[in-house]
Symmetry: C2
Subunit: 347 residues, 2 copies
């Protein structure tokens, strides 16, 4: 098949820093090229993809401080996709944020079928747009996500997949004393304070890593920093990939404390790929990612999380890794999208 | 003619607070309805227009703090315009900002002609989009603006017009001691510091009014506030319409000190409508607005502005007002757009 991916432009594909969607596009493209497809990726000009790159702009948008109107590059990208639409059997658009939503009206009415993967939350604003374009073709990234706006024309639900081989397992751990991990953006709805409470109740150390955006500084200073003593609670800032995986691989468990219904979660998948179980609040897609009692535990609040943490010795770490290898592989993701493309081209 | 206006959604039409484009759309619509046209305005749901309102959303976007993704409403608006396009002889789009630019790709390829008034600056980002869509139909708001991107398909240049009757003239002035005015956003490129220097050199008091956005707070604190003593320099904050016009009407002159090429300037037009001459840096569209030596003066720097201020007694205030009534009337603006619509519908 001749496949076009419409990637976000904020990061390059694959991302130099953090970029879940850009990373997925890179992995999916590589798998599709290996499967013999002809893949074109509309992405930032400095991207390095397995197929053919149709570059937009010189660099990823975040990397060029002279860019004042990033939306304009998105508009240009979508126009270039429209111009070349007839060259593709399917156009796979990755809708990742409010500006990402623009792809829905902008790629409407093309002769070639367009499949939109919804990577973002539904909210009262963007739901107006999704409902207006309910008849377009969508792929959900979890069943939970889909349940929040069930009336869209979904071709399927395709979980994200990762390459488990890239993640360390059973290596020497730099910090031999047991610890828990919170990994993610430091902001109120991610529940960092809940992770601190759960770790405290369980009597285990907690290592927190993630980015703090300027608007979330006050939350960090009030709800996180007072507990950071460098021992029972430590804060490591933003980590690169090797630092992140080493942190995950060495942990007793990763805590997922998001207070909003996350449509998916890459961190729990990556944690389990390292053999590290996940103790998660029962919210969003968590129950689709973690097998309760087998690759971690689902809990209702910080106290239940602490109780689960005490039962961690019952979890087999190689089962955690095998779970990801079987359920969240790039292969499985590529097969899921292949089925969605077939559905799209048969209509 | 059946005319559709595509207004910004940030403010209602007409605006409750500041909104140059929303104000223009209200005045232009009223004139077109009086001329017998059938006018539909796509604007925020709380707008009050002379023609027929096609409301988008419940209120102006800025007035609803629950709205997290204003871009979505713009996308919906443009889709609704597309849906109804065949009902109109001409669609008049008001491109006012980066999100406003979205109208250019989104309204491309319609059977009904679309005329885009460019209310914003050209910059290296949006110029990529304008050049890609150079063959669409544009109206410039000044000759100077047009000179920055001359390769677009311009149907004409139409200056903004205002209703001079709305502005006070020759009333009792609350502050009898002579003063100068700076009116506009408090930010570096508006050159508030240049106005302070010019007023100081001329030995006249300066009253500063305008909004400070949070990002410009540091500029205000470093370059403006130290000079504010409540007498020689005073700062009045953001004013409503009656406050603003009273301030302008009572002034010896209004200072225009923008350091960037403004594509137009409503403040100098409003000032002259009140009979108050304008002393302006020679930049952007200034020379198209102020008749040098007759309704004010053009100068190259703060020192030349101070010299011009000393020559203010040679300016006749009724000539300032007459200049606006003849050159910047709503009538003249409506005629300019009528000519552009004719050009658009004849192609």
């Amino acid at each position: 098949m001749r496949i076009a991916h419409v990637a976000p432009l904020w990061e390059s594909v694959p991302p130099r820093g953090y970029g879940a969607v850009e990373s997925l596009v890179a992995d999916l493209t590589a798998a599709q090229v290996l499967d013999g497809h002809d893949v074109t990726v509309f992405a930032s000009g400095d991207s390095k993809v397995a197929g053919t790159l149709h570059g937009i702009g010189r660099t990823a948008l975040h990397a060029d401080p002279s860019i004042r109107e990033p939306e304009v590059y998105r508009m240009l990208q979508l126009q270039e996709v429209r111009d070349r639409a007839a060259e593709f059997d399917v156009i796979h658009s990755h809708v990742h944020s409010n500006t990402g939503c623009l792809a829905i009206p902008a790629l409407h009415g093309l002769h070639s079928p367009v499949v939109h993967t919804v990577h973002c939350f539904f909210n009262t604003d963007n739901a107006l747009l999704f409902r207006r374009f309910a008849a377009e073709r969508y792929v959900a990234i979890s069943g939970d996500q889909r349940s929040h706006l069930p009336e869209l024309n979904y071709l399927g639900t395709v979980h994200h997949g990762i390459d488990v081989q890239v993640f360390p397992f059973g290596r020497e751990v730099a910090d031999p004393r047991p610890y828990l991990v919170f990994l993610g953006r430091i902001r109120p709805e991610k529940g960092v304070h809940v992770a601190i409470e759960a770790a405290h109740r369980a009597g285990l150390r907690l290592k927190i890593a993630g980015r703090i955006k300027s608007g979330d500084r006050a939350y960090f200073e009030r709800q996180v920093q007072p507990y950071v003593d460098g021992d029972r609670v430590s804060f490591l800032g933003e980590l690169n990939f090797p630092q992140k995986t080493a942190l995950l691989a060495g942990a007793a468990a990763t805590l997922m404390t998001s207070l909003i219904p996350e449509p998916f979660g890459l961190v729990p998948i990556e944690s389990m790929a390292c053999g590290t179980p996940v103790v998660s609040l029962r919210a969003g897609a968590a129950a689709e990612l973690v097998r309760d009692g087998i690759t971690g535990f689902l809990a209702g609040n910080a106290q239940q999380m602490a109780e689960a943490i005490r039962r961690l010795p019952t979890i087999d770490r190689s089962t955690c890794r095998a779970h990801v290898a079987s359920e969240f592989s790039v292969r499985r993701m590529a097969d899921g999208y292949q089925a969605a493309y077939r559905a799209a081209t048969q209509r």
